[in-house]
Symmetry: D2
Subunit: 448 residues, 4 copies
Amino acid sequence: MAAIGAVFGIDEAARTLYYVLHSLQQRGQDAAGMACTDGSRIVCEKNNGMLSEIFKEDVLAGMKGTSALGHVRMASDEDTDLENVQPIMVRAHQGHFAIATAGNVTNSQALRDEMEERGLIFQGSSDAELIAHLIQFYPGHLFEKIMTACSKLEGSYTFVVMTKNTMYAMRSSDGIRPLWIARCNDGYVIASESAAFTMIDVQDKRELRPGELIRLGEEGERSYFVEQDAREHMCAMEYVYYSRPDSVLGGRNVHSVREDCGALLAFEEPADADIVIGVPDTAMSAAASFARMLKKPYEIGLIKNRYIGSTYIRPSSQQREQGIRTRLNAISSVVRGKRVYLVDDSLVKGFTAKRICKLLKEAGAKEVHLRIASPKISNVCVYGYEGARQDQLAAYKYTDEEMCQLFGADSIRFLGLDAFRLCTGNDACMACMDGHYVNSCPENKERK
Amino acid sequence: MAAIGAVFGIDEAARTLYYVLHSLQQRGQDAAGMACTDGSRIVCEKNNGMLSEIFKEDVLAGMKGTSALGHVRMASDEDTDLENVQPIMVRAHQGHFAIATAGNVTNSQALRDEMEERGLIFQGSSDAELIAHLIQFYPGHLFEKIMTACSKLEGSYTFVVMTKNTMYAMRSSDGIRPLWIARCNDGYVIASESAAFTMIDVQDKRELRPGELIRLGEEGERSYFVEQDAREHMCAMEYVYYSRPDSVLGGRNVHSVREDCGALLAFEEPADADIVIGVPDTAMSAAASFARMLKKPYEIGLIKNRYIGSTYIRPSSQQREQGIRTRLNAISSVVRGKRVYLVDDSLVKGFTAKRICKLLKEAGAKEVHLRIASPKISNVCVYGYEGARQDQLAAYKYTDEEMCQLFGADSIRFLGLDAFRLCTGNDACMACMDGHYVNSCPENKERK
Amino acid sequence: MAAIGAVFGIDEAARTLYYVLHSLQQRGQDAAGMACTDGSRIVCEKNNGMLSEIFKEDVLAGMKGTSALGHVRMASDEDTDLENVQPIMVRAHQGHFAIATAGNVTNSQALRDEMEERGLIFQGSSDAELIAHLIQFYPGHLFEKIMTACSKLEGSYTFVVMTKNTMYAMRSSDGIRPLWIARCNDGYVIASESAAFTMIDVQDKRELRPGELIRLGEEGERSYFVEQDAREHMCAMEYVYYSRPDSVLGGRNVHSVREDCGALLAFEEPADADIVIGVPDTAMSAAASFARMLKKPYEIGLIKNRYIGSTYIRPSSQQREQGIRTRLNAISSVVRGKRVYLVDDSLVKGFTAKRICKLLKEAGAKEVHLRIASPKISNVCVYGYEGARQDQLAAYKYTDEEMCQLFGADSIRFLGLDAFRLCTGNDACMACMDGHYVNSCPENKERK
Amino acid sequence: MAAIGAVFGIDEAARTLYYVLHSLQQRGQDAAGMACTDGSRIVCEKNNGMLSEIFKEDVLAGMKGTSALGHVRMASDEDTDLENVQPIMVRAHQGHFAIATAGNVTNSQALRDEMEERGLIFQGSSDAELIAHLIQFYPGHLFEKIMTACSKLEGSYTFVVMTKNTMYAMRSSDGIRPLWIARCNDGYVIASESAAFTMIDVQDKRELRPGELIRLGEEGERSYFVEQDAREHMCAMEYVYYSRPDSVLGGRNVHSVREDCGALLAFEEPADADIVIGVPDTAMSAAASFARMLKKPYEIGLIKNRYIGSTYIRPSSQQREQGIRTRLNAISSVVRGKRVYLVDDSLVKGFTAKRICKLLKEAGAKEVHLRIASPKISNVCVYGYEGARQDQLAAYKYTDEEMCQLFGADSIRFLGLDAFRLCTGNDACMACMDGHYVNSCPENKERK
């Protein structure tokens, strides 16, 4: 996961951008960067680490100008290369520019191979570098170059390009990842989620439409479409897990969608447990709603220790064996002797589910009925979530009975595909659940 | 606020202590320290900053030994002196020792004056330094010295003293602040809250009794009483706000007490609102229970941005005016057009209440009925909470009507004193609410 | 300035490389980086800052493998971009590689323009990125690609390329910048200066010949020549200022060359001063030798405060006016009432000369006779020293008389061109002194 | 070693103090601290680490006021306790004060025992804490208290005490350690060495006389004497090693004293070597002068790598065995085939001498004649140098022949006691050389 933020035509742009990116830290805490321009040159600061570790007062003070572009990212263990930290700078003859991306180009390997055969080099593995290459490669003005580049790209990408005096924001035609724009004083703010606007005063906020390319310049805002009448296929997992509950996606508030999932999950519930517990924090909305529907008490039975920053020393596997535990804790007085509905937002590899079922049983729960407020995930995602291979997906490998046995749960139920579609809308991309990929993705499916 | 942690007779004591203190970070994120002994010398590392910023892998690796004593603290703006960071080391002729405290000595000024007149110096203003002075000043063996010192101290103090081969843990006779001990393998773990035991495997955990002094040594654990049959007067605010919900205080689980408060707050509710919203995180337990009693939907209408560490640049007052907001955000789709019960755990100066009422109204709430799940706070605390003078307390200065007007709330209600006593037990110290101080406190009352 | 270091086929390569780079810190303290390979992947760590700030124990511990490539650089104020910190990584289809450079490609702008027209992008402005592009662009095996790339490059470049199992080291045909190789156990060490071998045990150390390309692989070391019989034109300023005194350049020890310069500078000395003082540290060798020739006492009259690291807060210009001085200090008891020969290694903009003459006069020197142990610098350098435009060069702008007046010196003398050639050898590049550029450099001369 | 600096009555006192302390970094790089007062309160910042690592721009910006007191110290491996980092703050009823010390109280153990018996506690082991205790313990006004405290103290101490509106500076009656004062604008600057005044504009600088206590206040400067007509016994090693060459001690410039030592060392030189080499940096003055007297060429044959800061990873003993060397390097072309006079400033344990003799021989030196420009050190120092026990002193343990064999030197000579006294004056404390301690020191001699 990652998030883009950008500010155009606002005094102290970098400072405002800091708060925009700060609002989207749940999408990436492993690296952060900002490029900023005062109209004559573009400066860029970026590094591995959390936003607030990189951008201290003196760094922000050095970033003068009225336009800025930034990025936060989550990195896998194998990918901590500085070359992949965005924004990527392009120092071109006909004008420098900076670029940052979120989402995933699905035909990136083919495009990289093609560009490499033409003698181009890649310093890192980011889509941002790839798109920068494409933009630079095609002829014409920057606007034309971007339009041509987009015609080659497939997948769930979003990106923002910043020059000394213009800014371009693009959302892919499939609309899998969100991108928002709003007016702020006489300028503009762009961000991956609408919740990024919560710390600043904005007007007229709106989601970019699928395939929309916005150009901001002296003459204001102009909108173009790479593809007319493209339909939005918002990623289902954005609703379930990635986005902040106070964000709006495809016109739907995330928290409300999660409530709907919880409510429908309660339909024809076969078990008769005593209390409902949600896994903090992302499953709380669904769990509360599930409880309301079943008229069962919604209880706070799991506590999360929040003080875990980037410098925290995680217990080693040896220490875990010696008894050092993780950061979730069950409240015995709440669960002891109770039959518990345990509501989680989703189930990927099943490690968390297993750990929490064990926690609850150790704390005295009589029964644990695992309820997942989204459908089974049995296919890989090629649109931006890099987490799991198909053979690691619990719902792909195991039957319900096997999962119950593995996790130590007394029963397990998932939200059905049709019910989930009612909550997210028909067009949402549910490829990881139903296997219907919005656009073709041969290479990635094989790769994983 | 502050927390003590200690480990006795366990391999890699400092590493275990790290996780103990980490579990209690909500009690103090401004400074941290650990002293550790291998039986021949005591080493001490401490500094301003968060635990995980000070204790990195290489520092922990240098702290060898089987006993350790640690501390985390919250510091006011005026008190960031390194001299007040604990543990305090005493390098005495007859043996070095380290000491850490939590809670408050109420007659500290008188004792400091007395000690000063005898020519002693104070490098800082901590109770730990004062108690160290007293211990050192009185004659006898260390055990006798500690017993004599305790006979001079008044108030809500708890402390742990560590020498090269023994450890002493003391809880004041009034029992206002908690202190716990548990066995762990062949050794012991001591901590301010029982939730500190959640990351490690312990047996036989128990709260120290009021006035209890425990001595740990080669011969095991011995217990002494400074005062026989002392009654525990657990601080009411520990239940309401300070402690983790999964801690146990005076035999009562904190989360359950909060639920009871929420349930009783619902009694004879005069207003008829549509939904219940709790202020995250400490008011969630009470809010959910309040909703269950009223059979009103419990909704998640406020979102908290959690990514605020010690390096985060807080918006200046000027930026706030320009629209940079705080870290709480209201979800419009939840509150728009709704009459909202807003449940908070307590009301001190009223700043938070005012801000949240404004947030909700701006997000479209039709009415906001403020419900406080604890009684009015109209007296200063002399037992460890250093936050507010009496003339800053909203409930002391204003009538209910004035508060409604100030906060922009449509109604306000507090939990009654009697109802609150049902939840916390008769003996809890509620001095800040009912003015009955557990022990005399002339100096402090005048001072504030 | 910058330095390259590399290690091939040695256990814990990164750790050895750390000491190699550490020995060459005088060539660059603003950024540092290392790439390391264990035969299966290449990891890279780099950042702005000093070597020892970036490579702490935990970072070194994570760099496993038997080959490593590193770089330190000096950066101008305008060029602190992370994109220019080396090594540069190239993640290519047919194999990843890392590259680091020292020296200067003189036709870089033309090559960049050419590459850009073909659609390639540049993220930074370093020669390393340019050479990487060229290597990648041309067809064939890596060896062929490098040979072709070199045939396009002009100037004083040196570079090292590292793949998972091979290493290439190249020194330009003009031999302006040094590059050394030595055997170490069963492997090899490469470095910009021979003094880099002082902290490790090496055998068979030798300077690469001009135009030599070395390939290290499983089968050992192979040597190729881009140009046969190329002559070495070692940079005169390497002798005068850049290199460590214990390095060897073109077969000559740097300290000895400086001594020769000092001795010849004493020839036909017209003034009759009392004592000789050298500017620490680079002018000490010449000053001592100058004193020996004149049979005048060599005195230590200037002291340098060495404790100035990257975090040191330099006095602002306002503070300088208020009297906060720089880090050089004159010893009054040595210079008071004396006629002083002040020997410096070179004179570029003249700021230092002016400051020191003032220091000595304030400390009581009766006369200051400035003696520069190298010829007048009146042309720009296009081979790697990015410091001064021609209109900033004191010897270009002023006559000797004007300089004396400006600096407050009583006389000024420079070493003559012919005498200097005796010390450095006829083939040394003295373009900045005599205007004879070793190879054509139209673009750069105009640029500056 | 350590250094005191203080500023009284100067705008932005902390900023000026920063440069004062910075000039004295050679006396201590392991910890640093400053206390500053604006007339109403005293703030204190201190920590382990180098001055420039602790005092960054934002910290300095927070230290408002016109008076400041600071300290830098060198710490042994066993003594990195935060409690010993100065200034020490005393928060007393009748007024807070800060204190910093340099030098050594020789009867500290007796005084600590005495104070402890009266019930006082020591948190650390510094003299500053001890003197603070004494000052606080005795009755009267602060001036009287300080005078009484001084009457109890023995040894080579110097200290500065700062209150909100006054400052006291004291130099012990034996005058073993230096302390200086100067006027600066309308205020004063105090420092351990006169070289500390080199970065700022001062007037009327003078050394405090032995036994002098200066009081700075609104009414200006007043001077008192604890003992009339005390004689200064300046530490011989201050001349030899500790002080900067541009400092003045007891009226003598350090560099000049070192030159005198070198000159007298040349007297009746029995060997006939070819060149003279000094160990950088402290032996350079003596070596150059030694060379002048013998009319032998003074050569630069040893190079020191200066880029070793606090974060530098020192080679482990294992790495040293594998060939990673230290930071000194010999220049082969200078020493090969030569008979070398190697001049060092002093010889303590002999480790450095051994290493350098080996370096020179490996670099090709035919003979190495070790010449020490100070007498043999065969007694412990009780006045501030904590480095060596008597049984570690080379000159105590070995004959000249044994030392030659151990070090691999061809001959060894020391400066004689009488000659040395000619250079430093008759009154200098040479206890470590001649065993005549300036004042009684039973406890310390036994202790070591």
